[in-house]
């Protein structure tokens, strides 16, 4: 095991949530940022106009509520994905993060933002095929889905691992690209966008850890 010592486990049937050195750090980071996102107010923006007065762009409350909710869902899913010790469960967490990311982006009513989030939605729909396909192939080949068990089995899973990595890349890995592409940093309401980046970063590191372990 490359993730350090075990502090404790939470069994849910066949799925085990494990607090190891690595996963606890990721869990605490994700939860901390979720609380920060919940507490902070979105920033307002002063947009310079070519003619006339500059105007202050404010986020309306109904949009703020939706995006904040999606950011919190995204944070909780990231925190859960840090702990889970099951291939299929991790794939479901990835999908939940992906769809929450689309939710964060899609609430902004601007054409280029909506275009980018539509393309991101297409990518994550395509990515479910390799993600769940790789889980199914791993289950067929080894007869189990638990990462703790797969660690002892020593089977050659190179192709499945490549597929799994590709699925992760399409599901959350490309999210920062779209967030940057849609100029979401300049769109008002910045703290919620940070959740996309944080979840993407943490999930990439966690996927590498899983692929090295099994």
């Amino acid at each position: 095991m490359i993730d350090g010592g075990i502090f404790g486990i939470v069994p849910f049937g066949d799925i085990i949530f494990k607090y190891s050195m690595f996963s606890t750090i990721g869990f605490v980071i994700a939860i901390t940022f979720t609380i920060l996102v919940y507490l902070t107010k979105p920033e307002k923006q002063l947009e310079a106009q070519k003619f006339g007065e500059d105007k202050l762009i404010d986020i309306p409350l109904h949009e703020l509520k939706n995006r904040r909710y999606m950011a919190i869902v995204c944070g909780i899913a990231t925190a859960g994905a840090m702990l889970t010790q099951d291939i299929f469960d991790f794939a479901l967490f990835l999908t939940l993060v992906g769809i929450a990311n689309i939710g964060i982006v899609s609430a902004v009513k601007r054409e280029h933002v909506l275009n980018a989030s539509f393309q991101y939605g297409l990518t994550s729909i395509i990515a479910t095929l390799p993600l769940f396909g790789a889980s199914a192939l791993i289950l067929a080949k080894t007869g189990t889905l638990s990462i703790l068990e797969l660690h002892h089995l020593n089977k050659n899973l190179l192709f499945e691992k490549i597929l799994y990595g590709l699925g992760m890349a399409g599901e959350t890995g490309v999210a920062p690209y779209y967030a940057a592409k849609a100029e979401m940093f300049r769109a008002p309401g910045s703290p919620y966008i940070l959740m996309i980046h944080l979840s993407s970063l943490l999930l990439i590191v966690r996927t590498v850890e899983i692929l090295l372990t099994i």
Binding site: P11, F12, G13, D14, I15, I16, F17, H62, E63, N66, Y69, M70, V73, G80, T84, D86, F88, D89, L92, F93, T95, L96, I99, A100, I102, G103, S106, A107, K109, N115, A116, Q119, Y120, L122, T123, I126, A127, L129, P130, L137, L139, A140, K141, T142, G143, T144, L145, S146, E149, L158, F159, I162, L163, L166, A169, G170, V174, Y178, K181, A182
Partner: protein
């Protein structure tokens, strides 16, 4: 030259296509990769039509449950054989409970189908819930500026 390629790649609508092409290439290489089924499965599948008209829970009757971690097996048995009162009510009246609409994923059969896999059923329904939230929000606010 490289600048031109970067500029070409920077269009958002290009990424799904590139991703799909990459995937197709990987799948073509996958044809040469040995894919087989191990016979020692944790979640065995019963033979086709072997349960039909014999048990109301067909084809999902999992009479023998194997646990991934045998130390949690006693607790697992208590939960896995649990049916809600509504499920018992329907089960007593028809032999086709397992194939009715109420027992599709998300329906009331989920307890026996998925509980051995713990968090999965929670996550599947929450994915569906989040998708519906996004859709309804976009639908209700489609005319608002």
């Amino acid at each position: 030259m490289i600048g031109k390629i970067w500029n070409y790649l920077s269009k958002p609508e290009l990424v799904p296509r590139l991703f799909a092409i990459t995937l197709a290439i990987v799948f073509i290489f996958g044809l040469f990769w040995p894919i087989y089924k191990d016979n020692n499965q944790l979640y065995p599948k019963p033979e086709y039509h072997s349960q039909a008209l014999k048990t109301p829970l067909a084809p999902y009757d999992r009479s023998i449950v194997k646990a991934q971690y045998p130390q949690y097996l006693p607790d697992l048995g208590k939960i896995t054989s649990y049916l809600t009162p509504i499920a018992i009510f329907i089960k007593d009246r028809t032999l086709f409970f397992g194939t009715t609409i109420v027992s599709t994923p998300g329906g009331i059969l989920d307890e026996i189908l998925y509980y051995t896999r713990g968090m999965d059923t929670v996550l599947e329904s929450s994915i569906l819930l989040v998708a519906f939230i996004i859709f309804t929000w976009l639908y209700w606010n489609r005319e608002r500026d």
